[in-house]
């Protein structure tokens, strides 16, 4: 467990302006998360994080198709969420942070997901 956390902490230092990485289930309940002090509290709440799943589901009805990644940019932050059902990976970063670098972190997280998916799949 600590090993997984350490991998995520390493990722935080790889991209400047990345504030937190959260791996949650589809209701926004965190399975694993690493945060820095600058992470906005509101954006790490389940009600916000679970909106991604809903947005993807509802967006597909508009004809967008089943989206894999959602990138939202706000005035101060950007939020990147990747669909790995039953898990959701969320990155919260500064709006000036390099989005491509953050998307590139996916390949580092993928090997961790096996154990995390096991933990979630058993519970649900």
């Amino acid at each position: 467990m600590e090993e997984l956390r350490k991998v995520l902490l390493d990722l935080l230092s790889k991209v400047s302006g990345l504030y937190c990485v959260l791996i949650t289930d589809r209701d926004g309940v965190p399975v694993l998360k690493v945060l820095t002090d600058k992470a906005p509290d509101l954006a790490t709440r389940p009600s916000f994080l679970s909106t991604f799943g809903l947005a993807i589901d509802q967006g597909s009805k508009l004809g967008l198709g089943k989206a894999k990644t959602l990138i939202c940019t706000y005035s101060q932050y950007q939020i990147i969420q990747i669909n790995k059902l039953p898990l959701i990976i969320s990155f919260i970063a500064s709006d000036t942070s390099n989005t491509g670098h953050i998307l590139g972190l996916e390949k580092y997280i993928d090997p961790l997901l096996v154990n995390l998916t096991l933990a979630v799949a058993d519970t649900q």
Partner: protein, 171 residues
Amino acid sequence: MGCCYSFFCKEDSAQQRGEPNERTHLLVDPVSNSANIPQYNSEDFLNNSNTLPKKTDEQSALNRILQETATNVIDVAALDSHNLQQHEYVERMRQYSSKLQQACASNKLPVRHKLCVLQDVPIPEKVICSESISADDLNLISTAVSKAAAAIGEIKVEHKEDMVVLFRVPD
């Protein structure tokens, strides 16, 4: 109610000309397809059990339409209702962490191969813009390197025996 009305309204079919309008039947009418149009009242349902499956068919078809409509509609108001209670949230988080402990204990992380020889630098511009080293240090480094290079150049092999030895190769 409108749906029920159009279901029994035969004269509408002349006006439809195959184009869907507000009177178009949503269901294929099983009753009008048969030559005999049976009339049902509540007593028939009570006395004749054979009519019941038809009723359930209709009901299931209606349910299907309702479900399809529900999946196709984006109901923003209904999205809010799916909020977790605080205790549920805490409970689930606890479950996840214990399950994760177990999963980690049984499945070790695959050994990570170094993807790249060079290390990622998060903010390259900072490194590039950083102050260059002082002239003294540069001097020291260049003299040390030149001395080292000279020393390497002077390395010689002092041989005490013949370096090439003739074997007794028959001519």
